[in-house]
């Protein structure tokens, strides 16, 4: 009786608090757990029918369809008729840095200044953001938390989305450095002093290629100086900015270059040659035009504008939808992301679904938001696929997760921990289904 009373209190609390304070991070998974009878989408292109996953102490111990489950009181989750996918990975986001974009006090994504290699996104990542749980509800279990900026913006960290603080959220701290490449195309001048024009209205006010290259040359000088600085074992004076790029120059950090134009991407390819950096192009809306070149230089790509209008008037109306297929064809390692800062990252799987409609196979599209995303971010040894030795990060859905008409995530596991998939929006829904007495209908048609 006491137990029942406790449950009632808990439910009442859940239905009235809306702060998600009742959604607790799950404790560490201990011992052995079996998930059986599922269609397992491994993340590397393979699909295992009627498969079983064996999880031990947070790691994947076995995967296959010839695994015996011991009789007795083994911990077994029967996922018959369901689909299992690796936990989805959002390759770029300001999740936890921005709670509500119009309220400055809730935004911590962009620091002042052009040269901020020492700035670290992880210290501002708020594990209590109400947005995080709405992403988990759609199967996103990890994200790259990226600082915004106007040039060298600082380092990003990869986090898993079930944690008390950022220290236990972090999968890979300071995993990448972010450069926002200056625009290399002319832009008309505006307003009272220029008026919207173009060449006929007086032409471009400046030479963006020249200005951009001057900035890049300065950055080269900075990197050369930093290299020399970091080669010394002791320093008369500490320089935090030089020290901040030590890992980058030693190849321990990814170099993310945010660029959409072909010219910007060419500059990036040329720039990294001297320093031997492991470069990832972010945004990359024109990457389809130089896919072979990107492959040749072993450049990986994060597509951010899957759902966008075509970039130029000459482009096909559906060009942004089919850019992924062009990269796939050329053999470029790429991930699919979203250009929104926080909330719309939950549509990640549907961005990948669009790439299927326009040329990818379903498993290729899945890889772009799981294993290949992990590869691009340098965490593929830990996560990204349902393979032996990796963290047990996976989701169970009753239908195809790439299509919004069938996606329905019923369970999610991070490091083998079964996480609570409740969120603020589900709680509000419950509250108003009570108001209108819709509960019975809901039981007929569960969501």
């Amino acid at each position: 009786m006491k137990k029942i009373f406790f449950i009632i209190i808990t439910v009442a609390f859940a239905a009235t608090c809306f702060s998600q304070a009742n959604v607790l991070p799950a404790p560490a998974q201990k011992g052995v757990m079996y998930v059986t009878h599922a269609t397992i989408h491994v993340g590397n292109g393979k699909v295992i029918e009627n498969g079983t996953i064996v999880v031990r102490d947070g790691k994947i111990e076995k995967v296959g369809n010839d695994i015996n489950i011991p009789s007795g009181d083994a911990n077994v989750i029967d996922a018959k008729g369901k689909q299992i996918y690796p936990g989805l990975i959002l390759p770029t986001s300001a999740l936890g840095l921005i709670e509500m974009s119009s309220i400055k006090a809730t935004t911590d994504a962009r620091e002042m200044g052009d040269m901020n290699p020492e700035v670290r996104s992880i210290v501002a990542y708020n594990t209590d953001s109400k947005v995080i749980n709405t992403l988990r509800s759609n199967g996103i279990l990890a994200a790259n938390i990226v600082p915004q900026g106007s040039f060298l913006a600082g380092s990003s960290s990869v986090v898993q989305l079930d944690a008390w603080t950022w220290t236990d959220a972090s999968l890979q701290t300071d995993a990448g450095m972010h450069l926002y490449m200056p625009s290399m195309i002319s832009r008309p001048s505006f307003g009272r002093f220029g008026g919207f024009g173009g060449p006929s209205a007086g032409g471009p006010a400046s030479d963006p290629v020249k200005e951009g290259m001057e900035k890049i040359d300065k950055l080269k000088t900075f990197f050369r100086e930093a290299k020399a600085y970091n080669a010394q074992s002791t320093h008369e004076e500490t320089n935090l900015k030089y020290a901040a790029v030590k890992n980058l120059l030693e190849g321990k950090q990814k170099f993310y270059v945010h660029a959409n134009q072909v010219k910007q991407m060419l500059v990036a390819i040329d720039f990294v040659k001297e320093f031997g950096l492991d470069v990832v192009i972010v945004g990359a809306s024109e990457s389809w035009q130089i896919a072979d070149l990107l492959k040749k230089h072993n450049v990986s790509v994060i597509l951010q504008q899957m759902h966008s209008l075509p970039t130029s008037n000459d482009d096909a109306v559906d060009q942004p939808y089919k850019s992924a297929a062009a990269l796939q064809k050329a053999g470029v390692t790429f991930a699919i992301s979203d250009d929104d800062t926080q909330t719309r990252g939950r549509n990640l799987a549907f961005n990948a679904g669009t790439a299927v409609t326009y040329g990818l196979t379903k498993e290729e599209a899945l890889a772009a938001i799981t294993l290949n995303a992990a590869k691009v971010m340098g965490v593929a040894d830990k996560t990204g696929s349902i393979e032996v030795g990796k963290e047990a990060n996976f989701i169970i859905s009753s239908g195809d997760i790439l299509d919004m008409s069938t996606s329905n995530v019923t369970d999610a596991f991070i490091q083998g921990r079964k996480i609570n998939l409740d969120d603020k929006q589900k709680q509000l829904t419950n509250r108003y289904e009570e108001k209108y007495n819709l509960k019975k209908e809901k039981e007929k048609k569960p969501f």
């Binding site: 002319s186 832009r187 919207f196 032409g203 759902h307 966008s308 008409s405």
Partner: protein, 350 residues
């Protein structure tokens, strides 16, 4: 735009690509007018030097703008009624009209009188439950109807009130948390509104998302468990009803306009592509033909570039290249990129 409580009159159009403004009009459609509530109206999210100095600055003030406007509209109507009946009397008695002066014509109040007489219909940009309830209450008191609440992200909190008033609801699928008034927006909104008996549509004010409204509607299958049929209705017959044109469009029925899309798959699936788009029986988009035309454009572009390079080599006069930009009206607070050659109106103005 949503900058004013009483915005302006809107025009229903059909997407007859290439037609001039006059020929885009939906013939015989009722006249509508845009109203707005909340943060846009009280200028909460705009960088106005020195801060907002315009009334209304609060939702309290917004209510009073409506009360004031409709009070004046009713007085205006009374004045005209009195004038017209006096005029009629004099005409009947065959007396001279000297000394009888017509009231001053006021075009703003004429539009509001049309609303009071059910000749013009309101779509109201709205978000939170207090302001929705507030406008319904003013409307009931002053004797007018709100035809459709748009955006209406907290509609699920007052669905019963909207139903009683006789309003329709047109909402976003899943956007939230970009400003305070969308803090409690939920993706289950459309499904809850639908289940309470309201006529519901899905809309977007985003230029790119508007072309994937079928997918936005399909999200109600995930969030709220609507059937494929119910989801599709959110972007076909339901909006046709709320725009008073269900006798002409919104479903495939004998006698209706031949506005039809041929899809490669169920239109609620992410895997669906439009193959043909037909308006008034005319094919405006044909995917195969479009692909052919793209090839022709690519060839023409290559030819022109070759010619330009040739001219430059032969020493002709050249100018630096300048890409063609387009200016777009966007809600900048949403932060949705439209590509590198699109300039937001806000940026172009300052």
């Amino acid at each position: 735009m949503a900058a004013n409580p009483i915005g302006g009159q809107s025009q229903l159009i059909k997407l007859r690509w290439g037609a001039n403004a006059e020929d885009l009009k939906f013939n015989g459609a009722d006249g509508f007018i845009k109203f707005a509530l909340g943060e846009n109206v009280k200028r909460s999210n705009f960088n106005i030097p020195g801060g907002n100095t315009r009334y209304p600055d609060t939702r309290m003030g917004v209510e009073q703008v409506f009360v004031d406007a409709f009070t004046r509209a009713k007085d205006y109507q009374k004045e005209w009624d009195a004038y017209n009946s006096e005029k009629e009397k004099l005409v009947k008695a065959k007396k001279p009209l000297t000394g009888l002066n017509a009231p001053r014509k006021d075009l703003e109040l004429e539009a509001l009188v049309e609303i009071l007489n059910n000749k013009r219909f309101i779509t109201c940009h709205s978000y939170v439950q207090s302001e929705i309830t507030g406008l319904i209450e003013v409307a009931d008191r002053m004797g007018f109807k709100v035809n459709t609440f748009t955006h209406i992200l907290e509609g699920y909190k007052v669905a019963d009130k909207m139903l009683k008033h006789g309003a329709n609801a047109s909402t976003f699928s899943d956007w939230w948390a970009y400003k305070v008034e969308v803090e409690d927006a939920i993706p289950y909104n459309a499904a809850i509104l639908h289940k309470t008996g309201l006529n519901v549509a899905i809309n977007s004010d985003d230029a790119e998302m508007a072309r994937r409204l079928n997918q936005e509607a399909a999200k109600t299958m995930k969030y709220g468990g609507l059937s494929a049929e119910e989801a599709l209705n959110l972007v076909t017959i339901n909006p046709a009803k709320m725009l008073h044109v269900a006798d002409k469009v919104g479903s495939i029925k004998v006698g209706k306009d031949a506005d039809v899309v041929v899809w490669s798959d169920s239109p609620v699936s992410i895997y669906a592509k439009s193959l043909f788009t037909i308006v008034d029986g005319t094919v405006y988009f044909d995917r195969e033909k479009d692909e052919q035309m793209q090839k022709e454009v690519a060839l023409e572009k290559a030819r022109l570039i070759k010619k330009l390079i040739g001219e430059k080599r032969s020493g002709s006069f050249t100018v630096p290249p300048m890409p063609t930009y387009s200016i777009m009206h966007t809600c900048s607070e949403h932060g949705h990129s439209h590509g590198m050659l699109v300039i937001d109106t806000d940026d172009a103005n300052y």
